[in-house]
Protein backbone atom coordinates (compact mmCIF):
# COMPACT_ATOMS: atom_id res chain seq x y z
CA UNK A 1 0.00 0.00 0.00
CA UNK A 2 1.72 3.15 -1.14
CA UNK A 3 1.19 6.20 1.03
CA UNK A 4 -0.24 9.49 -0.13
CA UNK A 5 -2.06 12.48 1.27
CA UNK A 6 -5.44 13.89 0.32
CA UNK A 7 -5.15 16.58 -2.35
CA UNK A 8 -5.87 19.55 -0.06
CA UNK A 9 -3.39 18.44 2.59
CA UNK A 10 -0.87 17.53 -0.09
CA UNK A 11 -1.00 20.95 -1.73
CA UNK A 12 -0.81 22.77 1.59
CA UNK A 13 2.15 20.79 2.91
CA UNK A 14 4.10 21.10 -0.34
CA UNK A 15 3.39 24.84 -0.39
CA UNK A 16 4.72 25.29 3.12
CA UNK A 17 7.81 23.18 2.54
CA UNK A 18 8.50 24.91 -0.77
CA UNK A 19 8.25 28.35 0.81
CA UNK A 20 10.63 27.33 3.60
CA UNK A 21 13.01 25.80 1.08
CA UNK A 22 13.08 28.84 -1.18
CA UNK A 23 13.71 31.10 1.79
CA UNK A 24 16.53 28.81 2.89
CA UNK A 25 18.07 29.00 -0.59
CA UNK A 26 17.88 32.80 -0.55
CA UNK A 27 19.44 33.08 2.92
CA UNK A 28 22.24 30.60 2.15
CA UNK A 29 22.92 32.47 -1.10
CA UNK A 30 23.16 35.75 0.80
CA UNK A 31 25.49 34.31 3.41
CA UNK A 32 27.70 32.63 0.82
CA UNK A 33 27.87 35.86 -1.17
CA UNK A 34 28.92 37.90 1.83
CA UNK A 35 31.51 35.33 2.86
CA UNK A 36 32.99 35.11 -0.63
CA UNK A 37 33.23 38.89 -1.00
CA UNK A 38 34.94 39.24 2.37
CA UNK A 39 32.42 41.83 3.50
CA UNK A 40 33.17 41.34 7.17
CA UNK A 41 30.31 40.71 9.51
CA UNK A 42 27.05 39.21 8.28
CA UNK A 43 24.13 41.13 9.73
CA UNK A 44 20.42 40.50 10.08
CA UNK A 45 19.91 41.94 6.61
CA UNK A 46 20.74 38.58 5.06
CA UNK A 47 17.56 37.19 6.65
CA UNK A 48 15.44 40.23 5.85
CA UNK A 49 16.56 40.92 2.28
CA UNK A 50 14.62 38.07 0.63
CA UNK A 51 11.16 39.18 1.84
CA UNK A 52 12.09 42.80 1.12
CA UNK A 53 13.02 41.89 -2.43
CA UNK A 54 9.72 40.04 -2.76
CA UNK A 55 7.87 43.20 -1.71
CA UNK A 56 9.89 45.23 -4.20
CA UNK A 57 9.15 42.87 -7.06
CA UNK A 58 5.46 42.80 -6.21
CA UNK A 59 5.39 46.55 -6.73
CA UNK A 60 7.24 46.56 -10.00
CA UNK A 61 5.18 46.58 -13.14
CA UNK A 62 5.53 43.58 -15.43
CA UNK A 63 7.42 44.28 -18.62
CA UNK A 64 5.97 43.48 -21.99
CA UNK A 65 7.79 43.36 -25.31
CA UNK A 66 6.41 43.99 -28.75
CA UNK A 67 4.89 40.90 -30.35
CA UNK A 68 5.66 38.60 -27.44
CA UNK A 69 4.02 35.25 -26.77
CA UNK A 70 1.85 36.24 -23.82
CA UNK A 71 0.50 32.83 -22.77
CA UNK A 72 3.94 31.28 -23.10
CA UNK A 73 5.49 33.96 -20.97
CA UNK A 74 2.86 33.41 -18.30
CA UNK A 75 3.14 29.63 -18.32
CA UNK A 76 6.92 29.30 -18.25
CA UNK A 77 7.64 30.21 -14.60
CA UNK A 78 4.41 28.53 -13.54
CA UNK A 79 5.47 25.33 -15.28
CA UNK A 80 8.89 25.43 -13.63
CA UNK A 81 7.23 26.00 -10.25
CA UNK A 82 4.78 23.18 -10.85
CA UNK A 83 7.56 20.81 -11.78
CA UNK A 84 9.53 21.75 -8.69
CA UNK A 85 6.47 21.14 -6.54
CA UNK A 86 5.88 17.74 -8.16
CA UNK A 87 9.51 16.77 -7.68
CA UNK A 88 9.28 17.77 -4.04
CA UNK A 89 6.03 15.87 -3.58
CA UNK A 90 7.56 12.45 -4.25
CA UNK A 91 10.34 12.86 -1.66
CA UNK A 92 9.51 11.00 1.58
CA UNK A 93 10.15 12.67 4.92
CA UNK A 94 9.84 9.68 7.27
CA UNK A 95 9.07 5.99 7.09
CA UNK A 96 5.53 5.76 5.75
CA UNK A 97 5.17 9.55 5.46
CA UNK A 98 5.20 11.17 2.05
CA UNK A 99 2.99 13.58 0.18
CA UNK A 100 2.86 11.14 -2.71
CA UNK A 101 4.68 7.84 -2.97
CA UNK A 102 3.81 6.14 -6.25
CA UNK A 103 5.44 2.82 -7.04
CA UNK A 104 7.33 4.66 -9.81
CA UNK A 105 8.18 7.77 -7.82
CA UNK A 106 11.65 7.87 -9.28
CA UNK A 107 10.19 8.11 -12.78
CA UNK A 108 7.90 10.97 -11.69
CA UNK A 109 10.94 12.82 -10.39
CA UNK A 110 12.92 12.15 -13.56
CA UNK A 111 10.00 13.40 -15.66
CA UNK A 112 9.78 16.59 -13.65
CA UNK A 113 13.50 17.15 -14.20
CA UNK A 114 13.21 16.47 -17.92
CA UNK A 115 10.36 18.90 -18.45
CA UNK A 116 12.39 21.78 -17.00
CA UNK A 117 13.89 22.11 -20.45
CA UNK A 118 10.47 22.94 -21.84
CA UNK A 119 9.86 25.57 -19.17
CA UNK A 120 13.20 27.27 -19.76
CA UNK A 121 12.82 27.16 -23.52
CA UNK A 122 9.35 28.67 -23.30
CA UNK A 123 10.69 31.35 -21.00
CA UNK A 124 13.36 32.30 -23.51
CA UNK A 125 11.21 32.00 -26.61
CA UNK A 126 8.27 34.07 -25.43
CA UNK A 127 9.70 37.60 -25.20
CA UNK A 128 10.71 37.62 -28.91
CA UNK A 129 14.04 39.13 -27.96
CA UNK A 130 17.55 38.06 -28.91
CA UNK A 131 19.24 37.36 -25.58
CA UNK A 132 16.41 35.31 -24.11
CA UNK A 133 16.29 33.28 -27.33
CA UNK A 134 19.98 32.47 -27.23
CA UNK A 135 19.64 31.50 -23.57
CA UNK A 136 16.73 29.19 -24.38
CA UNK A 137 18.60 27.30 -27.09
CA UNK A 138 21.73 27.11 -25.00
CA UNK A 139 19.79 25.47 -22.22
CA UNK A 140 18.59 22.92 -24.74
CA UNK A 141 22.14 21.72 -25.24
CA UNK A 142 22.81 21.79 -21.51
CA UNK A 143 19.66 19.94 -20.52
CA UNK A 144 20.01 17.22 -23.14
CA UNK A 145 23.56 16.54 -22.04
CA UNK A 146 22.64 16.42 -18.37
CA UNK A 147 19.65 14.07 -18.61
CA UNK A 148 21.53 10.83 -19.14
CA UNK A 149 24.15 11.22 -16.40
CA UNK A 150 21.32 12.21 -14.05
CA UNK A 151 19.23 9.18 -14.82
CA UNK A 152 22.17 6.81 -14.65
CA UNK A 153 23.43 8.21 -11.34
CA UNK A 154 19.99 7.92 -9.78
CA UNK A 155 19.22 4.56 -11.30
CA UNK A 156 22.12 3.06 -9.40
CA UNK A 157 20.27 3.87 -6.18
CA UNK A 158 17.28 1.85 -7.37
CA UNK A 159 19.38 -1.32 -7.77
CA UNK A 160 19.73 -2.25 -4.07
CA UNK A 161 16.09 -1.33 -3.48
CA UNK A 162 14.78 -3.46 -6.38
CA UNK A 163 12.08 -0.85 -6.78
CA UNK A 164 11.46 2.52 -8.37
CA UNK A 165 9.51 3.87 -5.39
CA UNK A 166 11.51 6.47 -3.50
CA UNK A 167 10.29 5.17 -0.14
CA UNK A 168 11.80 1.78 -0.95
CA UNK A 169 15.04 3.40 -2.12
CA UNK A 170 15.38 5.12 1.25
CA UNK A 171 14.27 1.97 3.10
CA UNK A 172 17.10 0.00 1.47
CA UNK A 173 19.71 2.33 2.95
CA UNK A 174 19.01 1.16 6.49
CA UNK A 175 22.35 -0.59 6.83
CA UNK A 176 24.50 1.55 4.55
CA UNK A 177 23.92 4.88 2.84
CA UNK A 178 24.13 4.94 -0.95
CA UNK A 179 26.83 7.58 -0.87
CA UNK A 180 29.11 4.96 0.69
CA UNK A 181 27.95 2.09 -1.49
CA UNK A 182 28.11 4.11 -4.71
CA UNK A 183 30.63 6.91 -4.15
CA UNK A 184 30.53 8.20 -7.71
CA UNK A 185 26.79 8.74 -7.62
CA UNK A 186 26.46 11.79 -5.38
CA UNK A 187 29.10 14.02 -7.04
CA UNK A 188 27.55 13.41 -10.46
CA UNK A 189 24.08 13.99 -9.03
CA UNK A 190 25.16 17.31 -7.48
CA UNK A 191 26.67 18.56 -10.73
CA UNK A 192 23.56 17.55 -12.61
CA UNK A 193 21.31 19.08 -9.96
CA UNK A 194 23.09 22.40 -10.25
CA UNK A 195 22.84 22.12 -14.02
CA UNK A 196 19.14 21.29 -14.16
CA UNK A 197 18.31 24.25 -11.91
CA UNK A 198 20.75 26.34 -14.01
CA UNK A 199 22.44 27.67 -10.91
CA UNK A 200 25.86 29.29 -10.52
CA UNK A 201 28.51 27.82 -12.81
CA UNK A 202 25.88 26.15 -14.95
CA UNK A 203 23.65 29.20 -15.26
CA UNK A 204 23.97 29.32 -19.01
CA UNK A 205 20.39 30.26 -19.99
CA UNK A 206 20.34 33.27 -17.64
CA UNK A 207 24.01 34.05 -18.00
CA UNK A 208 25.88 37.31 -17.50
CA UNK A 209 27.20 37.17 -21.05
CA UNK A 210 23.58 37.30 -22.19
CA UNK A 211 22.82 40.09 -19.68
CA UNK A 212 20.24 37.96 -17.93
CA UNK A 213 19.44 35.63 -20.79
CA UNK A 214 15.92 34.22 -20.59
CA UNK A 215 15.22 36.64 -17.72
CA UNK A 216 16.49 39.70 -19.58
CA UNK A 217 12.98 41.05 -20.28
CA UNK A 218 11.47 39.96 -16.94
CA UNK A 219 10.23 42.43 -14.38
CA UNK A 220 8.01 42.39 -11.34
CA UNK A 221 6.18 39.17 -10.60
CA UNK A 222 7.58 37.54 -13.75
CA UNK A 223 11.01 37.78 -12.24
CA UNK A 224 9.74 36.87 -8.80
CA UNK A 225 7.96 33.76 -10.04
CA UNK A 226 10.97 32.65 -12.09
CA UNK A 227 13.47 33.08 -9.27
CA UNK A 228 11.09 31.39 -6.85
CA UNK A 229 10.59 28.44 -9.17
CA UNK A 230 14.31 28.11 -9.79
CA UNK A 231 15.13 28.10 -6.10
CA UNK A 232 12.31 25.62 -5.50
CA UNK A 233 13.77 23.30 -8.14
CA UNK A 234 17.18 23.50 -6.50
CA UNK A 235 15.59 22.67 -3.17
CA UNK A 236 13.69 19.73 -4.64
CA UNK A 237 16.87 18.33 -6.17
CA UNK A 238 18.68 18.68 -2.84
CA UNK A 239 15.83 16.95 -1.02
CA UNK A 240 15.83 14.01 -3.42
CA UNK A 241 19.60 13.80 -3.14
CA UNK A 242 19.29 13.59 0.62
CA UNK A 243 16.71 10.83 0.27
CA UNK A 244 18.41 8.76 -2.40
CA UNK A 245 22.07 9.13 -1.46
CA UNK A 246 22.35 10.25 2.14
CA UNK A 247 19.91 7.80 3.65
CA UNK A 248 16.84 9.99 4.00
CA UNK A 249 15.30 9.63 7.43
CA UNK A 250 17.86 7.11 8.70
CA UNK A 251 19.94 8.34 11.59
CA UNK A 252 20.36 7.90 15.36
CA UNK A 253 18.75 9.93 18.13
CA UNK A 254 16.84 12.54 16.14
CA UNK A 255 13.46 11.85 14.48
CA UNK A 256 13.36 11.07 10.75
CA UNK A 257 12.08 14.40 9.40
CA UNK A 258 14.79 16.28 11.28
CA UNK A 259 17.46 14.14 9.70
CA UNK A 260 15.87 14.73 6.29
CA UNK A 261 15.96 18.47 6.89
CA UNK A 262 19.59 18.39 8.04
CA UNK A 263 20.73 16.33 5.09
CA UNK A 264 18.81 18.50 2.64
CA UNK A 265 20.36 21.57 4.21
CA UNK A 266 23.80 20.04 3.82
CA UNK A 267 23.36 19.40 0.11
CA UNK A 268 21.71 22.77 -0.36
CA UNK A 269 24.69 24.58 1.13
CA UNK A 270 27.06 22.75 -1.22
CA UNK A 271 24.93 23.45 -4.28
CA UNK A 272 24.12 27.08 -3.51
CA UNK A 273 27.69 27.98 -2.60
CA UNK A 274 29.02 26.98 -6.02
CA UNK A 275 27.50 30.15 -7.40
CA UNK A 276 30.01 32.27 -5.54
CA UNK A 277 33.01 30.03 -5.94
CA UNK A 278 33.11 28.68 -9.48
CA UNK A 279 33.05 30.53 -12.81
CA UNK A 280 30.46 29.85 -15.47
CA UNK A 281 31.33 26.94 -17.72
CA UNK A 282 31.59 27.24 -21.48
CA UNK A 283 28.82 25.31 -23.19
CA UNK A 284 30.91 23.31 -25.64
CA UNK A 285 33.50 21.87 -23.28
CA UNK A 286 30.68 21.20 -20.86
CA UNK A 287 28.71 19.17 -23.41
CA UNK A 288 31.84 17.22 -24.28
CA UNK A 289 32.54 16.60 -20.58
CA UNK A 290 28.99 15.35 -20.01
CA UNK A 291 29.09 12.82 -22.82
CA UNK A 292 32.68 11.65 -22.52
CA UNK A 293 33.25 11.89 -18.77
CA UNK A 294 30.04 11.89 -16.74
CA UNK A 295 28.24 9.16 -18.68
CA UNK A 296 31.11 6.66 -18.52
CA UNK A 297 31.59 7.44 -14.81
CA UNK A 298 27.89 6.97 -14.13
CA UNK A 299 27.92 3.69 -16.04
CA UNK A 300 30.94 2.46 -14.11
CA UNK A 301 29.03 3.41 -10.97
CA UNK A 302 26.03 1.32 -12.01
CA UNK A 303 27.89 -1.74 -13.11
CA UNK A 304 30.32 -1.88 -10.23
CA UNK A 305 27.60 -1.43 -7.65
CA UNK A 306 25.43 -3.90 -9.52
CA UNK A 307 28.18 -6.46 -9.57
CA UNK A 308 28.76 -5.99 -5.85
CA UNK A 309 25.09 -6.64 -5.16
CA UNK A 310 25.14 -10.05 -6.75
Amino acid sequence: MRTYLAPGVAVASVAVVMAVGVYAVAVIDGIAGRLASGAGRIGVSVMLDPPRTVALLLMQRRHRTERADGPGWAIAPALLGGLAATALAVVPVARGTAVADPSTGFVVFATAIAFVMIAVFLHGWSPNSLFPLIGAYRYGAQALSLQIPFLLAMLATALPAESLAVMDIVEAQGDLWNVVRQPLGLPIYLVVGVGVSFWGPLNLPDGADLVGGTSAEDAGTDRLAWEFARAAMLFAVAAMGAAAFLGGWWGPLLPGPVWMALKTLCLLVVMVATRHLVARVRIEPFVVACWTMFIPLALVNIFVSGALLL
Partner: protein, 118 residues
Protein backbone atom coordinates in the same frame (compact mmCIF):
# COMPACT_ATOMS: atom_id res chain seq x y z
CA UNK B 1 -9.02 8.30 -3.06
CA UNK B 2 -6.95 9.67 -5.94
CA UNK B 3 -3.94 7.49 -5.34
CA UNK B 4 -0.35 8.65 -5.11
CA UNK B 5 -0.12 9.78 -8.73
CA UNK B 6 -3.30 11.75 -8.26
CA UNK B 7 -1.80 13.51 -5.26
CA UNK B 8 1.31 14.43 -7.26
CA UNK B 9 -0.85 15.67 -10.12
CA UNK B 10 -2.93 17.76 -7.75
CA UNK B 11 0.25 19.34 -6.40
CA UNK B 12 1.45 20.08 -9.91
CA UNK B 13 -1.80 21.68 -11.03
CA UNK B 14 -2.20 23.70 -7.85
CA UNK B 15 1.37 25.02 -7.98
CA UNK B 16 1.07 25.98 -11.64
CA UNK B 17 -2.25 27.74 -11.17
CA UNK B 18 -1.02 29.54 -8.06
CA UNK B 19 2.01 30.92 -9.85
CA UNK B 20 -0.05 32.11 -12.82
CA UNK B 21 -2.38 33.84 -10.34
CA UNK B 22 0.57 35.46 -8.54
CA UNK B 23 1.85 36.77 -11.81
CA UNK B 24 -1.47 38.24 -12.81
CA UNK B 25 -2.02 39.74 -9.36
CA UNK B 26 0.72 42.24 -9.99
CA UNK B 27 -1.37 43.86 -12.70
CA UNK B 28 -3.73 45.02 -9.97
CA UNK B 29 -0.90 46.22 -7.75
CA UNK B 30 1.55 47.76 -10.16
CA UNK B 31 -0.69 48.67 -13.06
CA UNK B 32 -0.55 48.01 -16.77
CA UNK B 33 0.02 50.17 -19.80
CA UNK B 34 3.21 50.67 -21.75
CA UNK B 35 4.04 52.91 -24.69
CA UNK B 36 5.50 51.45 -27.86
CA UNK B 37 9.12 52.45 -27.10
CA UNK B 38 8.79 50.86 -23.66
CA UNK B 39 8.11 47.53 -25.30
CA UNK B 40 11.19 47.44 -27.50
CA UNK B 41 13.37 44.39 -26.70
CA UNK B 42 16.63 45.29 -25.00
CA UNK B 43 19.77 45.08 -27.08
CA UNK B 44 21.83 47.74 -25.37
CA UNK B 45 20.07 50.85 -26.69
CA UNK B 46 19.38 50.24 -30.36
CA UNK B 47 16.01 48.85 -31.42
CA UNK B 48 16.08 45.46 -33.16
CA UNK B 49 15.96 45.37 -36.95
CA UNK B 50 14.19 42.03 -37.24
CA UNK B 51 12.20 39.63 -35.12
CA UNK B 52 14.26 37.46 -32.83
CA UNK B 53 11.98 34.53 -33.74
CA UNK B 54 13.84 32.78 -36.50
CA UNK B 55 15.06 29.40 -37.59
CA UNK B 56 17.76 29.50 -34.96
CA UNK B 57 20.61 27.20 -35.88
CA UNK B 58 20.65 24.78 -32.97
CA UNK B 59 24.06 23.43 -33.80
CA UNK B 60 23.82 20.67 -31.27
CA UNK B 61 21.22 18.76 -33.27
CA UNK B 62 23.59 15.84 -33.82
CA UNK B 63 24.07 15.55 -30.08
CA UNK B 64 20.27 15.55 -29.76
CA UNK B 65 20.12 12.43 -31.96
CA UNK B 66 22.65 10.78 -29.69
CA UNK B 67 20.49 11.76 -26.73
CA UNK B 68 17.51 10.04 -28.34
CA UNK B 69 19.42 6.79 -28.50
CA UNK B 70 20.38 6.99 -24.84
CA UNK B 71 16.88 7.98 -23.86
CA UNK B 72 15.55 4.81 -25.41
CA UNK B 73 18.20 2.92 -23.48
CA UNK B 74 16.96 4.58 -20.29
CA UNK B 75 13.46 3.33 -21.02
CA UNK B 76 14.83 -0.21 -20.88
CA UNK B 77 16.96 0.45 -17.83
CA UNK B 78 14.02 1.46 -15.64
CA UNK B 79 12.50 -2.05 -15.44
CA UNK B 80 15.95 -3.59 -15.56
CA UNK B 81 16.88 -1.83 -12.32
CA UNK B 82 13.82 -3.28 -10.61
CA UNK B 83 14.44 -6.91 -11.57
CA UNK B 84 18.24 -6.79 -11.54
CA UNK B 85 18.94 -8.53 -8.24
CA UNK B 86 16.37 -11.21 -8.98
CA UNK B 87 17.77 -12.01 -12.41
CA UNK B 88 21.38 -12.05 -11.34
CA UNK B 89 24.52 -11.95 -13.46
CA UNK B 90 22.83 -12.53 -16.78
CA UNK B 91 21.02 -9.20 -16.41
CA UNK B 92 24.34 -7.46 -15.81
CA UNK B 93 25.92 -9.02 -18.88
CA UNK B 94 22.99 -8.28 -21.18
CA UNK B 95 22.68 -4.66 -20.18
CA UNK B 96 26.44 -4.36 -20.38
CA UNK B 97 26.37 -5.44 -24.00
CA UNK B 98 23.60 -2.97 -24.79
CA UNK B 99 25.46 -0.11 -23.15
CA UNK B 100 28.72 -0.95 -24.86
CA UNK B 101 27.09 -0.72 -28.27
CA UNK B 102 25.70 2.70 -27.39
CA UNK B 103 29.04 3.86 -26.02
CA UNK B 104 30.61 3.02 -29.36
CA UNK B 105 28.09 5.50 -30.77
CA UNK B 106 29.24 8.17 -28.32
CA UNK B 107 32.85 7.50 -29.26
CA UNK B 108 32.00 7.89 -32.92
CA UNK B 109 30.17 11.15 -32.30
CA UNK B 110 33.09 12.47 -30.29
CA UNK B 111 35.57 11.59 -32.98
CA UNK B 112 33.37 13.17 -35.63
CA UNK B 113 33.30 16.43 -33.62
CA UNK B 114 29.53 16.27 -33.29
CA UNK B 115 29.82 17.50 -29.71
CA UNK B 116 31.58 20.73 -30.68
CA UNK B 117 30.01 23.37 -32.78
CA UNK B 118 31.68 26.74 -32.78
Amino acid sequence: MLGPLGAALAVFVAATVAMVALRSASDAIAGVGETAPERVPFLGGHPPEMHAWSRFHARYYVMALLFLAFDMEMVFMYPWAVVFVREGGIALVEMGMFITILLVGVLYAWRERALRWA
